[in-house]
Symmetry: C5
Subunit: 372 residues, 5 copies
């Protein structure tokens, strides 16, 4: 992980609702991508994908009640496409607004002819920063629409399972496909948490080996990302619970059994997030105590050196004074002035006294445990 | 943002209930503004606004059951106006008290012939300080009264939509208009949060580039404003929930569908507030660790300089002592006194020893990692 | 506010239940005041107050079903009075115990023939310290008993309204009078909170202007008082809720409508307490960061001065050494000893070198931003 | 309170369940005391106590349905006694296990023929450390069994009231006696809290007068004891609530009325515990800020002294250098070397400059407010 | 406990779900152990154990409705074994996935023909680090399957009780055996908590005797382990509650009575975890205050030594200056230069002044309480 990518968290500036715009207005950002529409047609025996250019005439393409359809829509730049959804498919305008304003919380709502759900996809991109995208679902009897505003996602494995027909995926109906996609999204949370957990372990190792100030930055970055993930995981859990408890005929009981499993995964995610948050906090506490301890170390060095040498220097200063034995002007003899300087062993005694003072202080500090 | 506006949070001194005044007494502050009354008359096809001077005769103006009316009242200095509301329109005195004491929490109450609601309008004024105003609603079958104590607000876009007749606003009835105003107010929260979010990002950048003590002040100011916003957002959410669950015939089901959307927005607001609070706290933690680290840096400089030079100065002090080889008075020779001073290379050896001591200490501190 | 009154919080030593005393025993403290009993007799048209010396014969005084009575009792020193209440009025002994042990939480209980309620009265006395007194209510069809152990209170405005007959107070019955007293008590909380809010604002101003250690003391004192108020406000809210939801025939529906208003006030009180607590905490955080910053300032001064002068003093020390060019005893010439001292410009060059070192260090510290 | 008793909290090493022992096994610790069994026989008119040696034949002793019995058992060393309870009285083995493993939480359970309850008795012993003992109750129609593993307790006042027949205690039946004991136990909590509250007040006084490090120790000790008390008070409250809501015919309605009072006391206990915890935390915060402030004081002294004298010492060092006006070897005159030393007023001017520097610094520090 | 085992917490890298794998896929890790299958056949009178190599033909082994069976499976490397469970015993694939992905939360689920439960086994291994393993249960009328991925566990005592037939274990049916195993697992939590509690006590003793930085590390390690245990204990409690409230015919009422006991134990575990967490936090607070205090001590030593000797050294420096009484070049007499040096008692007076300054400072610091 490069330093520059590490020390800045990705900032998400939400496309805020334009204050005063009517509710139920589809929001087409200038950066919206042109739509890519894939129509997956499948049942237990067959599977094919078609790329569509728009949604006109989709009703004919999806008329066979014995087949299941997945209409996968990526990129929202076409207002006409949403127009078609509203007119041909009778989708509520508030839903279309929720699909296009991609900062919604996970939720599940029933509208009679169809159910509407939102998941949030969190995954680490190549630079290890956290992507946070919205996937919207419209579920009808045998058609599932999904909506994403970017082309990249972490859903490829589901497409692969659908194409090879492994497991229940082609026979479980639309609600099972919706489950499979939602479950894939939640599985991606585990991957993210696992990466962060390893980073926290690495930070913890650095704490013991060579604590430096990047520890604080890196831990705070993870903590902040955990906040983002928790903000997603809680409503995700509530959404799962809403689907589990719904009476909607569009969600069959087998899918619900699987969704219960996904619900359990959400709870595990929340558990792990809380644990990692506590571990982050504990790392920060540890780091702060290490800083304090290091300050104590630094101060001990200073205090020991100063306490030993400052008094000695003072003594040397005493005998560096120029009090004179004789006034050079008057020639008066002043025998009281610094007689030590003229003792036969004055110098040696002085050095000895200095040595004793130093030794006494070393013993004092050693007894206080400052050399440990 | 000017420094002086930044470092002081706006202090709201609430107009407290006068202890002992009877309940249900309209409160006219001496600073109250003279009322401006606008009567908006509209249906799908027509729209007109009249400025009224008082509420006398309003019943005649609003008699046509095929039209909808919005009676917009700003400024509370006229006690007569409230008298009229109480007598002609039979509005409960406790409601009038709540309207005029503008520090109420958001709430929704049914009174049979009409419903009563309070929203709080939060927005940043030109000086970036947070305005916190109350908007009260009285909702009847085809008339909506709104009450504000100031003239400025953030509701202009709704008036504009009403005047041009865009969307549902003219056909949705009084409850839809109430929704549109409440939704506008909540949208303004997003704008405020977005501004604070950007300020927090800017603070975070300063944390890494040039941390100084204004970081603490600025972060605490945002944190305090977040507390204010949260105090409003929670009861706002409860109010929305109360309206969603009411049986009141005055709120129709279409408006409720839209209000569910506004309810979701409230939850998003609360989510964002909590996240921003955690980010503030994390910035403060980071700042405090930076202060501590900086203290360590300062102390390291002091300790390195002192530890190197204090012992050297002591050695220089030693050889600055004046122990004498000869007593000037008696002329006695004292060869033990500081013989080093009279060695041929005494000075050079001394300098060498000092150099070695300095080098040894530099190596010691370098090994301890203090130069990093 | 005088300093000495500020730095000590008032300590309440509760009159604890005597361990092992039978429950339902009236508790007469030795400091109890002699009772003052006022009997207010009123209806829409009449109002009179009588001072009674005891409760004997009260039944005759309050026999007229067309009148309302407020029996106001202050001071508990008379055991006989409680005896009368128990015998003539059939008041449960546990209630009498609750009335006399004045550290009860606010509560509301129904006993069939009468309802029992407790409010706690909090107000600031002249010395700005918090008074915390209990007011107990016994509510019957047309008689309201109130009990206080002190003579002072904050209920005068209600007595005044009763005497002049303003508003509903004389026509609303006993339950309305009880509401009016409880509302008055809650209004007093607002006054207290408003005073503290202003004190916190003043503390905040001092934080920016001249932070000193009294900030910590003053903030902690307010925080502790807030804890006391919160301990009262939460059960007060629960009590209000209990009264609102009771089926008791003694509380009529009009009083309940007003009590809903008082209930809203309780919630506002709790909101304000929580906000003020967060503001206190934020002030303390700010103060601690100011202390840390100030420590950094102090250390910077020390480090700059020391780092500049200690090396220079060392150089001066070098050239203060007495290595000799000539052995005074043997007369031997020692030209290697400190030749710098005998250079023509030795002193000037030395001063120049010292100046350069000082300038270099100043530049170094200036670049590190230590002079800001 | 002696220091050594203060600085160590009493450590409770629970008698853990032996892993793998069958459930429902009576646990006889090797330190168990030999049982003391007292049989209190009483009704409104009579009262007598007998000491029994074992429980054999207890059925005959307690056969009279017109009398109430309290079988008080202290000390658990007799396995035979529990055998008798299981066989003669048909007490569930799980209950006997709960009675003998004396680290149970307070609880209340109905078993048809009898009810089972646990209280925890907390009181301060003579050395002011917290005793934490279990009292178990088995309640039948007219017999109450109580079980304690130690001989000391705080229930003497109840025994006294029973012996003198004051209040309801002899006429209220077994459930009233159980209430009286439980209420006595809860009253003892108040005494404990009151003692701690006074200790916290004393600590607070020390904080302002002479803060030292024992403050931290003492406060933490109280905080830890509060944690213990809270762990007991919450389930105690739940237990009371369970008894209040039970349909058990063994608990009559009069006892329930009294238990409601005890329930209120539990809530007050919890309130007080939370308040004292907040006061402890506030004391610790205050203490830490005092340490920080004191550090600032210490550093100010050091910085002022160093900043004033280090530069002066440097100047003195300058003029202590030995640059020579004349090369003693060559006799060369070097007039540029330290001409100040040979000025007529050189010394006086130097002293003056030093004085001015010192004064300037004093003014500088005084202006910075460091002398306050 | 060796230092190296103490300072690193065991890191659990969960076997994450393979993103995109179908749900309901048995997960066979490459490190899975080959299965050991033990079939315990028992009733009140008989008991035998057989080792099986696979589950083929298990139906014949367990056909006798008068016997109870415990099929104990350890090690998951055989995919065929799970195949058999799915086909012969009709076990849901999602259950098999939960069994093999051994990072599930404790839970209890009913599937009609059988019930499924998960417990987590926590115990300290010989190196005192925390083992965290999953035990899965499938409960049918008279057969209990258990699944563990390792061979070691803490369930030996239950096997022993089963083999000797002590207590209810052979007569209580399958649900009683499941209870016995779950209870054993919970009892192991007590042992773990007891060990940590003793470690915290030891840490606390070290805090008072010789606080060093390992205190922080050791406390944080325990705190982190407590987080792990709490993450297990809460869902364990919920699981117990689910079993207590189930209508499943597979759990009989006697087992439920015992499970209520286990449920109480879970609550006690949670209580103890919370207490220990608070004690950890309190130890850390204490440690940090000790570091701060120690810093104050260090700084006091430095400040006292420096403040005393720096001014004295300055005075010595003054009289070490070489201002001259006579210009050696011109021979000019300069009597104002340092006349003190030529006073008869100059040296003695100077020493006296120095002594007085030192004494004054010592008195000053002593008064400030710095020598305590």
């Amino acid at each position: 992980m490069a330093r520059n990518s590490k020390h800045k968290s990705k900032k998400h500036h939400y496309a805020l609702p334009l204050p005063g715009s009517s509710p139920g207005i589809v929001f087409i950002d200038e950066n919206s991508l042109p739509p890519k529409i894939s129509l997956h047609t499948y049942n237990a025996d067959t599977y094919k994908v078609q790329e569509l250019t728009n949604l006109k005439g989709l009703a004919q393409h999806t008329a066979d009640k014995n087949l299941n359809y997945w209409v996968e829509i990526k990129g929202f730049s076409s207002a006409a496409m949403f127009e078609t959804l509203s007119e041909d498919w009778n989708i509520n305008k508030l839903i279309l607004e929720d699909i296009t304003r991609t900062y919604q919380r996970p939720k599940y709502e029933e509208y009679g002819a169809y159910d509407f759900a939102i998941s949030r996809m969190l995954y680490l991109d190549e630079e290890n920063s956290l992507e946070n995208e919205q996937v919207s679902f419209i579920l009808t009897k045998n058609i599932l629409f999904t909506f994403q505003d970017k082309y990249e996602d972490c859903l490829e494995p589901v497409r692969h399972r659908l194409s090879i027909g492994k497991g229940n995926i082609r026979v479980g109906g639309s609600s099972y496909l919706m489950y499979a996609l939602m479950d894939m999204i939640i599985d991606a949370y585990f991957a993210v948490l696992s990466a962060w957990s390893e980073q926290l372990d690495a930070i913890e190792d650095r704490l013991f080996d060579r604590p430096d100030k990047t520890i604080m930055y890196d831990t705070q970055l993870i903590k902040r990302n955990l906040i983002t993930l928790r903000r997603v995981a809680w409503p995700e859990r509530d959404k799962m619970n809403d689907i589990l408890r719904t009476d909607s005929p569009l969600v069959d009981s087998q899918s619900k059994m699987y969704l219960r499993d996904a619900y359990d995964h959400c709870i595990q995610i929340i558990d792990m997030v809380e644990s990692l948050k506590e571990i982050s906090a504990s790392n920060i506490d540890m780091y702060l105590s290490i800083i304090s301890n290091r300050m104590n170390e630094i101060m001990k060095v200073l205090t020991i050196i100063s306490s030993i040498f400052i008094p000695l220097t003072f003594i040397a200063g005493i005998y560096g004074m120029n009090f004179s034995r004789e006034d050079p002007i008057t020639g008066k003899i002043l025998p009281q002035n610094m007689p030590e300087l003229y003792q036969e062993h004055g110098y040696e005694y002085t050095m000895l006294v200095m040595g004793l003072i130093a030794v006494a202080q070393v013993i004092y500090f050693w007894r206080k445990g400052w050399f440990k």
